[in-house]
Point group: C2
Chain length 113, copies 2
């Protein structure tokens, strides 16, 4: 279960799955939709999700090539939990930022005497 949680709890997985709610996206679209993700991490994340059966990868033999990613039924069952976590993070981003700053002030880094 730790292995499973390590994948579905991953921040990139959560953001990618969230983007695929109700729609199919291509690699480049996902890359643009998920801010901050590198090409490499997007590829690795998609491979993991495909391996675990959360999404399907469809290759169209056209030129230029098209690859589309779609949630499977299993992937859709994760959608609610994943977006809940994502929305929680977005909703409390500022509050947590404040908390971190307060913590830094209360627990100053060790200064070299």
């Amino acid at each position: 279960m730790l292995g499973v949680l390590g994948v579905v709890g991953d921040k990139w997985s959560i953001l990618v799955v969230g983007q695929l709610r109700d729609r199919t996206l291509r690699f480049g679209e996902l890359h643009r939709a998920v801010t901050g993700i590198s090409q490499r991490m997007l590829t690795l994340t998609l491979r993991q999700l495909e391996r675990d059966g959360l999404l399907t990868r469809t290759v169209y033999a056209s030129v230029p090539p098209r690859v589309e990613y779609t949630l499977t039924e299993l992937g859709s069952t994760l959608l609610d939990a994943a977006t809940a976590l994502g929305e929680w993070a977005a909703a409390h981003r500022e509050e947590i930022g404040d908390n971190r700053r307060r913590y830094s002030d209360a627990h100053p880094p060790r200064s070299r005497s």
Copy 2:
């Protein structure tokens, strides 16, 4: 938000927060409750969650020392999303295990020709 998601999406965070639903636990109790976590990772996880204001750390000046961890109000608001993800992982552990095995068979590792 990536930073926040990196913490609340972390597998250890999710399991720790889940254990603190409706109760206060000591360090050792948490260590036993969260299977597989090392002492070091438990400490680091608890520090992060404390820093972000998701739980409080209470030290009792007794001997032997007691340290208790309790969810804050903010931490409680994460509870639903976190346990949803945890339960999803537990519920689909076997199915995902199957998927991984099937994927391994369909995508055999490169053999040195």
